[in-house]
Point group: C2
Chain length 182, copies 2
Amino acid sequence: MSLKREQTRARILQAAWQLFHERGYQDTSTRAIARAAGVADGTVFSHFETKLEILKAGIIVRIEDVIEQADRRLSASTPAQRLLHYAEYLYPFYAENAEFSRELFKELLWQQDDLRPQIEAFIRKLFPKPPAERDLLYGHILMDCYFMTLLEGLGDTEYSASRMLDRLERKLAYFGSEDGAD
Amino acid sequence: MSLKREQTRARILQAAWQLFHERGYQDTSTRAIARAAGVADGTVFSHFETKLEILKAGIIVRIEDVIEQADRRLSASTPAQRLLHYAEYLYPFYAENAEFSRELFKELLWQQDDLRPQIEAFIRKLFPKPPAERDLLYGHILMDCYFMTLLEGLGDTEYSASRMLDRLERKLAYFGSEDGAD
DNA sequence: AAATTAAATTGAGCGCGCTCATTTATCAAG
DNA sequence: CTTGATAAATGAGCGCGCTCAATTTAATTT
């Protein structure tokens, strides 16, 4: 009977995603999602623990999609260039889904136990060979710049993806010399 | 009649701060605050726009206090050393008030219009002379490390202030050479 | 002291995310 | 089929942050 359950889940997710786009996350109530999906209020929460989990389920697959795209066209050589390459794909996505991203990060930031392994794995992708201790440190600093530039952009009413990219590029350029020292 | 109003405000703030400490922020309802302060539910919101504003009012004065302390004993010479000096005072405070800090940053992060000037002012404090363009860029990178290290620490169940400081110190040490080049 | 205006406080009530005892649907065993 | 067990869906209801028309209190004017 897990097929029908999957269908219900999919209906909820689809209805939610549409409403989130139409009215925004905050302005979409879980009751509205339930109504749009044709289920009872409680059913929503038998499929998703919280309202935010619905958003996550919708957005994470899309982020992974963007990362995959970036993976495929990765040709840059230095860690900084590689990071910038990923930012070229991810910043525009985050910027286009700014409210969703903010809500996501609000929670994700405090779940470092889940986040840290993912970040470390990502850092490793920035280096062609297994990184040395000093490389990892450098990778973390790069990621700090990556995230703060993103968070600044998401929190600023004036920011666009291209300005965020510009800002990150400038920060990464500061390191310049270190990049070649592998 | 603004004296009595101030008194009411102070009673609410005091009651709130005590309850926040006793049961935590999330587990303290605005109704409980009202009851403890001896006012009606609505009165709380005639003095503070939101529940979070109550927390802010309580915590920001304390943060400014900590910064002032750090200001007074500032003797470090390089920007990185100065930043570390401030972290030595602020990280412990944030770590001791982790839940409050998380709630605060949840909102503050997305108010970059307010935050940016404060950060830029802080960066200027890191440099003895008016910083050049490249100095400012360097300052922003330092701040990225400062904030991300803090956010990581606040989101990690295992982290202590001293581990956060250790982590920041290591990151800042990476720059080593640049510091002297003023 | 009374009347008028303005400031401060009140608390019923709203919509929210979410829970959970109850009901309904599904399906295998007798 | 009937029955009994399990999975899925239900919706009334909870406590929450917060609003706002109504009321009380204080200050000002006459």
